[in-house]
């Protein structure tokens, strides 16, 4: 039985857009986050770039959720948000601690962690 859009609870939206439009946006955003994570040396900006990669995965999940007319993808985004919040709390506490110890936010200072 074919389910129409209205019956499935998703209002009409994705009429002439394909799934790949969203996946392309998501891929570019992930790439930008990855490049930022590698190139930037400021610890806080590095964590911001991981947040951007989370965002990119969120776009892909919601787009797939729309494509399959399933709500599971959006539920996954809720969990991604949860993990992002927990990660931000812990990572920023660590960053403040590291800054207190060394008075710098340069990530490469901590590349030789010993004892």
């Amino acid at each position: 039985m074919m389910t129409t859009l209205a019956q499935s609870g998703f209002p009409e939206a994705m009429t002439t857009l394909t799934l790949y439009h969203y996946l392309f946006i998501s891929a570019v955003m992930f790439t930008l986050g990855l490049i930022g994570f590698i190139t930037r040396r400021n610890l806080i900006v590095m964590f911001l770039c991981t947040e951007m990669m989370f965002q990119a995965s969120g776009i892909a999940l919601v787009a797939f959720s729309r494509f399959y007319l399933e709500y599971t993808g959006q539920v996954f985004v809720i969990f991604v948000l949860t993990i992002a919040a927990a990660e931000a709390a812990l990572a920023l506490a660590l960053v403040v601690l590291l800054f207190k110890r060394n008075e710098t936010l340069d990530g490469s200072v901590w590349s030789l962690l010993k004892g």
Partner: protein
């Protein structure tokens, strides 16, 4: 297996975009941020326009979903500016811009709750925390470095290698656009009426509301939704016919008289309702795990943030002795 975009345009624009990102990354001497940003924006814009022209050719007439291209462009442009801006505060602000544009994309995908949650949690909570930490953990400017960022903010690490590897990944990821992927088969879709049938009290409320408004087809205050009877005589499930969108209504409180009432036409499944139902019904274990993770993060940040008291051994011994003598005196 139809290509969404011509492969020549796609790969040329990926190379151009890589060049733009490479130029706009902060570097030691010369500053090419503006031309790099323009090149990157051109590359992204050309790809988006190529996608749009394909959509126009297929959809016929008018630029469809202008907002998708608008939000997509804003998200990517502010994302590029975020990873290249030498000042962390501006990076965070550009990231808020990216999040707001992403919310627009979510709204086009009719994920209303996700957009709201993103604004509240990301832009409202997480980014504010980031801004706090940026302002807490910034060196106070000294005399010789007025108006100048520290060197680790001004010079990117390995820009060429990072850009090449990143855009190789992007080229591989976006090959689907050029090659075309066979249309995936949509599995059995979530039926809104089936989810709605799990909320009999919502249906009852809507029917009662009709009577209050004086419309036809509602139920009276004395009437209730009928339940089936289990084998042991206890009341069972509500009798709801999903296929015909009707419910059975008990006219008399104790008697057997029932009648069939159709759901109101305008009764629709809310987005929050649907997501919440899927969350609670489909992933109860994951909610517990998410709760444990949040608790761990809370305990962890408290442990990280506590002060380490340095009590020397002599003071500790003296305190123990005074406690012991007091104990001896009292007993």
């Amino acid at each position: 297996m139809e290509a969404v975009i011509s492969p020549i345009i796609l790969y040329a624009m990926i190379v151009l975009g890589a060049l733009g990102v490479l130029l706009s990354l902060p570097r030691a001497r010369a500053n090419f941020a503006l031309p790099g940003f323009l090149i990157g924006a051109t590359a992204g814009g050309v790809v988006l326009l190529a996608l749009a022209s394909k959509a126009v050719a297929e959809g016929g007439g008018g630029l469809p979903n202008l907002y998708f291209y608008l939000f997509g462009f804003v998200a990517l442009a502010s994302g590029l500016r975020m990873i290249t801006h030498p000042k962390p505060v501006y990076s965070a602000l550009y990231f808020i811009m990216t999040i707001l544009a992403t919310c627009g994309l979510f709204l086009i995908l009719s994920a209303v709750f996700m957009a709201a949650a993103l604004v509240i949690i990301y832009a409202g909570a997480i980014l504010i925390t980031y801004l706090f930490v940026i302002m807490l953990a910034t060196q106070s400017p000294t005399e010789e470095m007025v108006e100048e960022q520290p060197v680790f903010d001004r010079v990117a690490r390995e820009p060429v290698l990072a850009t090449i590897s990143g855009f190789l990944l992007l080229a591989m990821l976006s090959t689907m656009l050029a090659k075309g992927v066979p249309m995936l088969v949509t599995p059995s879709a979530t039926n809104a009426d089936e989810i709605l049938a799990q909320f009999p009290h919502d249906i009852e409320k809507a029917l009662r509301h009709r009577t209050t408004m004086g419309d036809e087809g509602g139920i009276l205050p004395t009437e209730t939704l009928a339940r089936s009877v289990n084998e042991d005589g206890t009341p069972g499930e509500f009798v709801i016919d999903v296929a015909n969108r009707t419910v059975l209504v008990q006219v008399d409180a104790e008697g057997g008289a029932t009648r069939t009432v159709a759901w109101p036409e305008d009764l629709e499944l809310g987005h929050v309702q649907a997501v919440g139902y899927e969350l609670i019904k489909g992933h109860p274990g994951a909610i517990e795990i998410a709760g444990v993770i949040l608790l761990m993060a809370m305990v962890g940040s408290v442990v990280l943030a506590r002060k380490h008291m340095q009590i020397d051994e002599d003071a500790k011994r003296a305190q123990a002795q005074s406690l012991a003598s007091r104990e001896g005196a009292s007993s």
